[in-house]
Each structure stands twice: as structure tokens, then as C-alpha cells.
Symmetry: C2
Subunit: 338 residues, 2 copies
């Protein structure tokens, strides 16, 4: 097998009868090349099947033409949460048409975190997308220190200083609760996510806001914390039923938790929506298939993925601009659980 090595820019230059620099100029779309030279180079490239070495290019330009999507999540999440798939799809959409590659990094433990730190310090990517950030996540700080362009999906707090895109969690939750009030529900409880995440906090605030505006009770007895998992939702529902046997509605901060709540309600013999109405959040695939199908707040997850990518590309293009952020609207999807 005379497996001749891959052609380099030199090979192309020789074949086209020009210098290396001219080939490079053609490759990078410089205008300072005569038409003949350009044609000769392009022919040579085609004939040789030449593909430039992005590694060599990276070494001198110190750009990598790749970005990382970091998903810092305990193992249990990515499986059950269709959220991440949708974000990935959106990111991939945002990248279509560019030459930029997507690196996926799941961070599950400290070792992987250390590895990621080294990786980012080595600047092996041009920018970073961060998903599902917790309030005290060390990563955003590190990225800021490194001066690596970063965009968050979601925010750590309402005062998030970094570029970010998030959906209107407060408004969406408020809509959900208003809907329950309109349906004539009296005692409206809520199942929340981890308190160190702004999504969870915002949805809780939306719940409170709607109840407050309607002059309803929004006390701590009606709030049960969970962790965005189905099992967590089930346990939270049980807790709520024990504390407030008379409740007739629940707003769960995610569809998956709502599914857990439905299971627990069924087990206890409560009918949905007759005895208890349930609303979820996300409009993920599970919402359409629960029994009964779930009324939920749709958030445009794929669009979030797309938007964080857009913002990141812009930030990589011209760094140091003003803080860019985006708030995307949610919408209520009414099904049979309310």
C-alpha cells in the first residue's frame, strides 16, 4: 500500500506553480491574489484532494474553531431530562453553516471537573456554553478569570453578570398558577427544584406572585422541595398530601416531577384532575404521555440552545462587548390534568 502521506500546503503550491503564501491566501479568501493564481491553486487543491490541517492552523492562529457545551450534572439527569437533547439540537442548529465543532463535556464528579479545568486552561476551545448552572458553581468564575468567552443557558441569580439566555420562568409559573385559579382551585401547592438553582427559585417566585396577586395563601406549608427527578416529585407529593390533605392543585416545577406527583396521587386514589389538578413545566415529551396528559408550561428549549450559540459566536467574534442576554417567552399548554 503506497499510502502516500496527506498533501500539505507545500505540495499544493508546487503543483500550482506558486508559493505557499499564495495558497494560504486562496484558502483564507484574501483578495490579493490574481485570478490565474487562484484558479491554479483551486485546481491543484481539487486534484490532490487537499484538506488543510486545522491543527497546524490552530498552532499559529491560536483559535481552535470549536466550542464546548458543558453539562455539569449528576448522572441521573441527562437520561431522564429531554431538556439536554433539545439544547444540543439547538446548539447544533446554531453551529450549522459555520466550521465550528461542538465538544460535549459531561461533568459528573470532581475528577472530571479537574480535567475540564485543565482542558479549559489549555484553551482547547474558543468558547464555552454552560447549561444548568447552580448558584455556587465554580465554573463561571474560572471562565471569567481565563477570559474565555462564555454564555450561560439560565442564570445563577437575577443579577447574573455573564452573558446568558433564559426563559421567562417567573412569568411561566405565574401563568400556570393563574390558570389553576381560573379553574376554581382553592389550595394550590407547589413542588420546587433544588433551591440553589435560579430556575427553581424563579418558578417558585412565579407561584408566589400569582397567589399573592389573587390574595391567596402562599405559605411554606404548600411548598415541597424536590430535585427535578421523578422520584423526588413523588416524595414531595406525598409530603404535601400529608401536610395538606385538602389541597386541590399542584404546580410542579418540571414535567418529570409532575409525572412523579401523578403517580403518587394515583397511588393514593386521588383522581386527576377531578380531585387534584396538576401543572408541569417544560412541555417535554413525557407531558404528552402521562395519564392524564399534562397541562404544562412550554419553554423554547431548542431556541435557548440556538440563542446561546448565537451569542457565543458573536462574543468570540468581537469579545469584550456589553453583557448580552436574552429572555425568551413561555406559553401555557393546556391538556387534561387541569
Amino acid at each position: 500500500m503506497g499510502a502516500t502521506r496527506r498533501p500539505t500546503i507545500k505540495t499544493v503550491a508546487a503543483r500550482a506553480g506558486v508559493g505557499r503564501t499564495t495558497v494560504s491566501r486562496v484558502l483564507n479568501g484574501s483578495t490579493l491574489v490574481s485570478d490565474e493564481a487562484r484558479a491554479a491553486v483551486q485546481t491543484a487543491i481539487a486534484e490532490l484532494g487537499y484538506v488543510p490541517s486545522s491543527v497546524a492552523r490552530s498552532l499559529v492562529t491560536s483559535r481552535t474553531d470549536s466550542i464546548a457545551l458543558v453539562i455539569p450534572e449528576s448522572e441521573s439527569r441527562l437520561g431522564s431530562e429531554p431538556y439536554f437533547s433539545a439544547v444540543i439540537r439547538g446548539v447544533s442548529n446554531g453551529l450549522a453553516g459555520t466550521q465550528i465543532q461542538l465538544l460535549l463535556t459531561l461533568v459528573r464528579d470532581q475528577r472530571e471537573m479537574d480535567q475540564l479545568t485543565r482542558f479549559l486552561t489549555a484553551r482547547r476551545v474558543d468558547g464555552v456554553l454552560l447549561v444548568s448552572v447552580h448558584r455556587d458553581d465554580p465554573l463561571p468564575g474560572l471562565l471569567e478569570k481565563l477570559g474565555l468567552p462564555t454564555v450561560l443557558a439560565g442564570r445563577r441569580s437575577p443579577a447574573e453578570p455573564l452573558h446568558h439566555v433564559h426563559s421567562d420562568n417567573i412569568g411561566g409559573a405565574r401563568d400556570a398558577v393563574r390558570h389553576l385559579i381560573e379553574r376554581g382551585r382553592g389550595e394550590i401547592a407547589t413542588i420546587t427544584g433544588p433551591p440553589d438553582m435560579d430556575v427553581a427559585d424563579s418558578r417558585l417566585r412565579g407561584w408566589r406572585k400569582a397567589l399573592g396577586e389573587a390574595g391567596r395563601e402562599a405559605g411554606g406549608e404548600l411548598v415541597a422541595p424536590a430535585d427535578f427527578t421523578e422520584e423526588g416529585g413523588r416524595l414531595a407529593m406525598r409530603e404535601l398530601l400529608e401536610r395538606r390533605p385538602g389541597l386541590d392543585a399542584v404546580f410542579a416545577a418540571s414535567d418529570v416531577m409532575a409525572a412523579g406527583a401523578l403517580a403518587e396521587l394515583r397511588r393514593r386514589g386521588r383522581r386527576v384532575p377531578d380531585d387534584v389538578a396538576v401543572v408541569g413545566f417544560d412541555d417535554s415529551i413525557v407531558a404528552r404521555h402521562t395519564d392524564p396528559p399534562l397541562t404544562t408550561v412550554r419553554q423554547p428549549v431548542e431556541e435557548i440552545g440556538r440563542s446561546i450559540t448565537d451569542l457565543l459566536l458573536r462574543e468570540i467574534g468581537e469579545p469584550g462587548g456589553a453583557r448580552r442576554h436574552l429572555l425568551l417567552p413561555t406559553s401555557l399548554v393546556v391538556r387534561d390534568s387541569t
Copy 2:
């Protein structure tokens, strides 16, 4: 901001009072370094916060320390199919503990395919994982020609020459149908996937096999093709009901299609499982939430992801070995739809 540039191997060498080569040796764990030199180098590295440039290293070693996971799928799939999330999780697991990075490449149209071709030709990854391959997919051929280590999740045909890992689709389908027979069902139809995919074909063959072994009818009238989508499953179900109003069981080649079938059955007023029993395939998240919860064939998707990664790493380590392949067992999960 006196943002001094990143230290290089030269900086480290100077600080440690040794030559570049010695630093390189320490970095790569060579034994031909005195203890003192090694200590000096390690101190210098720590003090400078030095991180080697993987780009420079790649240029000379022509390894990239990254692999690509290619998901060649029309946009509609990745969202609804929790399959891919599980594979990704498995791959990420398989990569944990290595320094290898995961590149995710979604291929949706010809343009993205061309781009991927250039990318692979440029050898920007050390190996490729291919998921959801169709019979006439051009990618495996390209990869073989490039001599790029490749492992498939699934196979193109029973005679797949490339390294691959797949689950026992035939056996799983047969178990599902046997289960229906044991439950006393008489007319057992099936909803299949795209005919140009081996998964679909194998599951169909399992269905046929079980019926054949039991001396039952397995004619074409009982087979409705779909495309692994919910809507496709619904339409296939409708077709089956029109052709064979008397059928009392359906084996769908995926949970998502089974969910579509359930919807159609409900719309037509057929009770599940009383009038018609339904079995799915995958045991994805939707199976637990359908109404009624779905009896299905569990396949170890995450383990598939893990295994293809293991095989790929081994192939990258010592290329040109014998064809490596792996068949993973499935198991029947009985719920309320049968």
C-alpha cells in the same frame, strides 16, 4: 493588564534549569529522567501553572485525543428519541478516565454531510462512533477508505464487516411476541421501522420467528411499516385496524411508535389491554408514562454507548485487529398494556 502569555515548555525548562527534552520526558512519563530533574520540572510546572499545548503536540504526534460521535438523523429524531441521550451518556462514561474529548456531530442534510467528510478527511479525530446507520449509508465506506478507526452502534446488515455493538433485536422481539402468545392473543400484528435499517428488519424477523415457531400466521397483512416516530406509529396502527379489524395484539418496534399506536387505539375506542395488547421496544422514558404503562423490551442503550467507546479506544490503541463485535442481551419488561 499585563496578561503575560501562557508559559511554554521552554519557560518551564528555563525555570527548572533543564532542557526542553527533559521537560517533555517528564510530561510523557519517560523513565529516563533523574529524580532530581523530575522534581525540579514538576515544581516549575506547578509554580507556572503550565499546561501543555495539545495543539502543538497534535501537530507532531498526529493524534488529536478526541473522537467523534456522529448522529446522522433527520432533525425530528434526536428530540423524541431518548435513545441518543442514553448513548451519549454511555460514551461519556466510557471516556471517563481518559484524556479523550468527545465531539458531537449531528448530520441532517447534505451540506452537513459534506462538511463532515472534509472534517474526517482532515483527520481531526482519532476515531469515529457511528449511531443509527442505514443500510446504504455512505459514511462507513468513507471511514473505511480513510482508515479511520470506527465502531458502529447497530449494524447495517447481519454481515456487518465493521466493528460494532448491537443488542439482540431478534431475540427481544421474539420474547415480546412469545409473551403475547402466552397471554392468549390470536392475531398479532407488528409496526416496523424503516426497512433500510437493520434494527427494524431484525425486530420484524423476531416477530416472524416467534409466530412461525408457534405455527401462527405471520403474513404481510399484519405488517405495517413506519419510521420510528409517534405519528408514524399512529398511522400504521390505523392502517392495521382497517386491514385487520379483528387483531388483538400489536408489537411495535419502538416505544414511541407504540405510544402513537396507543393514541390511535384510544381514538377508535379500543381498550388496552382488554381489546388489544401492545408491546413496545426500548424501555425508554415514555414507556413508563403512557396510558396504560407500556410492556416493552428493554435494551441496554447506555451500555451500548459504553461498549462502542471501549471498542473504539482499543482499536485506536492497536489498529487493524480482528473485527470486534458485541451482542448485548435484551429483557422483557411487563407493564399494563398486555
